[in-house]
């Protein structure tokens, strides 16, 4: 262990209320780490403090150590600064959600403490920067560990860095407390900063060392250690966020071209593609606007290279006309929508699942398209490959509906077997004797320009209603037949889609139905309802939303109640957006919804409260980020006044 630094120690209060005011001395040798399976660590500070960086290191380390990891973060919508959190949940078992409560809260500022203390579980540890935070030590529910983080960081680094490096100092502290592999972390720090000046690496390592060497054992009654587990499968884990997984999935799926326009939270997908595609011989174009970006992507697809574009909801609105053309002209295309709170500019850095109807119905005319939704970061990778396969096979636009929470959270997952999943995307320009671009009784197969058509009749891809050769027609019969031809590909696709497995009870009282990023909390909720409440319930999660797989109609009769759990406003439609779809399709009055619109990811407790109202296991009061929660049901009959429903002061 390095030399202990000599901090001004602040008061330490334990859960039992005993105050320990001790001068620091070297670590107590008798402190034995306690084995734990799971820990939720929340770092709360300002966005410029680099807490995302520190959190990402923890996530990477967990991934490298074969632990399950999930993260959750909030970013202020302001350009620079503002409160921000990064939460890491590390577990030796399966980690499905980022955690309802923190076991360990690091507060850099007074506002971080005030806003997030309610999130700390009883008996949890508050680690605070005693230079900036004065906690209410009379609240006996928590363990208080005050460390002058700012002062110690300045002391350790000296010179011009000021308090930059606090994040890495805290990383050192945490790795000590949780007995993390410091060597691996140092290596990660090296890898992260090695492209920069050597002094940057050294400063970071010094900050880490200062945190790691701090005699935190004097302040805590115990240290922790994650249980070691053997992971089945034996594949190494890779750690990344959902937007990265999506971008690399597109590359694996054979996407080499695309175009986009910056918008939160989609931008990082296009940044990765812009940087990476040249390695594969491709190009990603930053276009002048959303309309140009979808059109450029369609040009690339038309030319034979399946291409992608993407945006968030408002940008997708702008692309809508061209996507209608893709449906009509039957050109394959991938459209990523990283959903955020809407409408309009809405909540640019918050999560919402309110673009489902836009994806399915957001066109002019009867305009078939496919809509898929990834459920985890790992799934972002695989769903991109599936989207590419479907777009090619059915010559159709395919939407991928991700969202802010998937985009920004970091997960570790088994490294994909690239030999199995990678697709060779080269256009097939083999000469053909003849080619009919729009055969009525078949699915259109796009033949790119550069392909010789030996009978001399070349295809025209047309936005006007057309005959089989692509010539414009106003024939009522042909419009009927072509409308059916275009829609029949969705029927064909529905036949090949697997019916998702039900998690939990295969039949019973309640079936929770979800889509997209709510996968984790819904599954955790079902697990807890069954284990703690003895509920007979299951969860069904849809990845293919349009078309829906055939066979869902056989599932509904098995449950007494079906509740879609969604992050959108059922007050507008009567049900959540998925709930509305399912009711329209199956005329099943058992289908109801539980939705919310606070721009934050679902907590497990929220789902339990919402779906199993009045049950004892679901009744616990849940504190929210930054304000007391008013738990509410947004069903129309429950909405009385806005003031009653909306927790005032929550944006």
């Amino acid at each position: 262990m390095g030399d202990p630094v000599n901090p001004d120690i602040t008061a330490i209060k334990k859960a039992d209320g005993a105050t320990v005011a001790a001068a620091p001395s070297p670590d107590r040798a008798d402190l034995r780490p306690e084995n734990i399976q799971d820990a939720v660590i929340r770092l709360a500070g300002n966005s410029q403090d680099g807490i995302q960086t520190a959190g990402a290191f923890l996530a990477r380390l967990a991934g490298r150590s074969a632990q399950e990891v999930m993260t959750y973060m909030t970013i202020p919508a302001t350009i620079s600064g503002g409160p921000s959190i990064f939460q890491v949940r590390i577990g030796s078992g399966e980690v499905l959600s980022a955690g309802d409560e923190a076991d360990f809260l690091v507060a850099f500022y007074q506002h971080s403490y005030q806003d997030h203390i309610g999130f700390l579980r009883e008996g949890g540890v508050l680690l605070y920067d005693s230079d900036n935070v004065e906690p209410n030590l009379d609240d006996k529910r928590y363990v208080y560990v005050g460390i002058p983080i700012t002062g110690l960081t300045i002391e350790a680094l000296g010179g011009t860095a000021k308090d930059k490096g606090k994040n890495i100092f805290v990383l050192g502290l945490i790795s000590k407390i949780f007995q993390l592999d410091a060597e691996k972390l140092r290596k990660l720090i090296n890898e992260k900063f090695r492209s920069k000046d050597e002094s940057v690496v050294n400063t970071a390592l010094m900050a880490f060392q200062a945190g790691y060497a701090y005699p935190v054992g004097n302040l805590l009654s115990k240290l922790y250690q994650f249980e070691k587990v053997e992971r089945p499968g034996g594949r190494a884990q890779i750690t990344m966020d959902g937007n990265q997984a999506l971008a690399y999935g597109l590359i694996a799926g054979g996407v080499r071209y695309g175009a986009g326009y910056p918008i939160t939270p989609w931008s990082s997908v296009m940044e990765v593609l812009r940087r990476e595609l040249p390695k594969y011989g491709g190009i990603f174009v930053q276009a002048e606007d959303e309309l140009a970006s979808v059109s450029i992507a369609l040009g690339c697809s038309y030319s034979g290279w399946l291409a992608c574009t993407g945006s968030a909801g408002p940008g997708i609105s702008l692309k809508a006309e061209a996507i209608g053309w893709a449906s009509m002209a039957e050109i394959p295309l991938i459209v990523c929508n990283i959903q955020r709170g809407g409408p309009s500019t809405g909540l640019p850095t918050n999560v919402e699942q309110s673009d489902l109807h836009q994806a399915i119905f957001g066109s002019h005319g009867d305009s078939p398209r496919v809509v898929l939704a990834p459920r985890t970061v790992e799934d972002c990778f695989y769903i991109a490959i599936e989207a590419a396969r479907i777009a090619r096979k059915y010559s159709t636009p395919v939407f991928i509906l991700s969202d802010t929470s998937l985009a920004t959270r970091i997960e570790a997952f088994d490294e994909p077997d690239l030999a199995k999943v990678m697709v060779d995307p080269k256009p097939d320009l083999t000469p053909r004797q003849t080619h009919v671009p729009y055969p009525l009784d078949q699915i259109t197969q796009h033949v790119p320009p550069g392909t010789r058509i030996l009978d001399g009749k070349y295809p025209l891809m047309s936005g006007l209603e057309h005959d089989e050769q692509g010539h414009p027609t106003g024939s009522p019969k042909l419009h009927m037949a072509m409308t059916a031809k275009r829609r029949n590909k969705l029927r064909k696709l529905a036949e090949e889609l697997p019916v998702p497995e039900i998690y939990g009870d295969q039949e019973g009282d309640t079936l929770l139905v979800g889509w997209g990023s709510t996968y984790g909390p819904i599954h955790d909720a079902v697990k807890r309802a069954r284990e703690e409440g003895g509920e007979k319930c299951g969860a069904l999660h849809l990845r293919h939303i349009h078309p829906l797989p055939n066979g869902l109609e056989k599932i509904w009769p098995k449950f007494k109640r079906i509740v879609t759990v969604e992050m959108n406003d059922q007050g507008v439609y009567g049900y959540g957006q998925l709930g509305t779809l399912l009711r329209a399709r199956y005329c099943e009055p058992k289908i109801a919804s539980f939705t919310k619109t606070d721009g934050l990811t679902f907590r497990v407790k929220e789902i339990l409260d919402g779906v199993f109202k009045g049950k004892s296991f679901a009744a616990r009061f849940i504190p929210r980020d930054g304000a007391a929660v008013v738990h509410h049901d947004t069903a129309p009959e429950s909405v009385k006044t806005t003031r009653e429903v909306v927790p005032q002061g929550v944006g």
Partner: protein
């Protein structure tokens, strides 16, 4: 690229017959017929590989063009044909990308894309048939309609200042800018050929009369109707005193001055420069990157990226 197999039949010289498709749906007397005829002539003369000709268009009367050319092509949405063509041009440099449209498509709804296509200098040949009126929707004011033009949307005469296409193209950054007239087939052919030979974003504005909704608008420019068709005299760089007065096509300000001339103005090449295309710059980036990676296979590259994320 597809491998050429030995079974592939030999190529015949590209004929007008091979590239002719549907009979044009334009009104009898429409200027666009002459543009189509000139285009056929250029294709025959250049004898391009038939399958590598791509004709594209947005929406408008003139944008029906691809239906009348037998070749790979697409009829896209209003105003977005430039970005569509950009995607094709960037992804498939082996193709000859031709784009046809009108004044509404290029200077109104798609105006932004014309600027950015020029700014990025994406390789394509863009032919704009300018008739100063919306014809497909039956006589509304267009962005090039002169002040005072009576249309269904300006019953007392247009009041908004028209776009000056040459000025817009120069300011936008297009690297080949020419102006021609649908009654001057020989001149059109020359301009199309020069635009094709130019590497970059080549735009030709062609005055093409709408006989239905704006007849006789270009009379002064039609020699057959007693008008003038004044050609730009380009510099020959022959050190003669006459050459001093001729137009330097690389001189942006001189081009701008020509664009200021009152209607019907002058015809020919206003501006041309050899700025590198986006196609070339992207290709260079790809080559440098691929070189650094030792031209590794795709799977190997992605695997290396994932190894760094462990």
């Amino acid at each position: 690229m597809a491998e050429t197999t030995t079974t592939e039949p030999a190529r015949e010289k590209l004929s007008k017959k091979a590239i002719t498709a549907d009979h044009p749906t334009w009104c009898p007397g429409c200027g666009d017929f002459a543009v189509l005829a000139a285009f056929y002539k250029v294709l025959e003369k250049k004898n391009l590989d038939h399958e590598k000709i791509v004709t594209l268009a947005g929406i408008g009367c003139s944008s029906r063009f691809p239906y009348f050319v037998n070749g790979h092509g697409a009829h896209f949405i209003h105003g977005r044909a430039v970005p569509l063509a950009s995607g094709i041009s960037l992804a498939r440099p082996d193709l000859h990308v031709f784009l046809f449209g009108g004044d509404g498509d290029g200077f109104s709804i798609g105006g932004n894309h014309v600027d950015h296509g020029g700014r990025k200098n994406i390789n394509m040949t863009y032919f704009i048939m300018d008739n100063f009126v919306y014809g497909l929707t039956k006589k509304q004011t267009s962005p090039t309609s002169p002040i005072g033009f009576k249309s269904k949307t300006d019953p007392t005469g247009a009041i908004d200042q028209p776009v000056n296409p040459m000025k817009k193209l120069i300011a936008g950054g297009a690297t080949f800018i020419a102006r021609t007239h649908a009654t001057q087939v020989k001149h059109m052919i020359e301009m199309i050929e020069r635009a094709m030979d130019h590497q970059g974003f080549s735009v030709i504005e062609c005055l093409s009369e709408c006989v239905e909704f704006y007849p006789d608008v270009f009379d002064p420019a039609d020699p057959r109707k007693g008008g003038s068709f004044e050609l730009i005299q380009e510099k020959k760089w022959d050190n003669t005193p006459e050459d001093e007065l001729r137009h330097d096509v690389t001189d942006e300000l001189a081009a701008y001055k020509l664009a200021q001339l009152p209607f019907p103005g002058v015809f020919g090449v206003f501006y041309q420069n050899d700025r590198p295309t986006k196609n070339a710059l992207e290709k260079k980036w790809i080559e440098t990157t691929r070189e650094k990676l030792g031209h590794a296979a795709d799977q190997e590259i992605l695997q290396k990226t994932f190894d760094r994320m462990k």
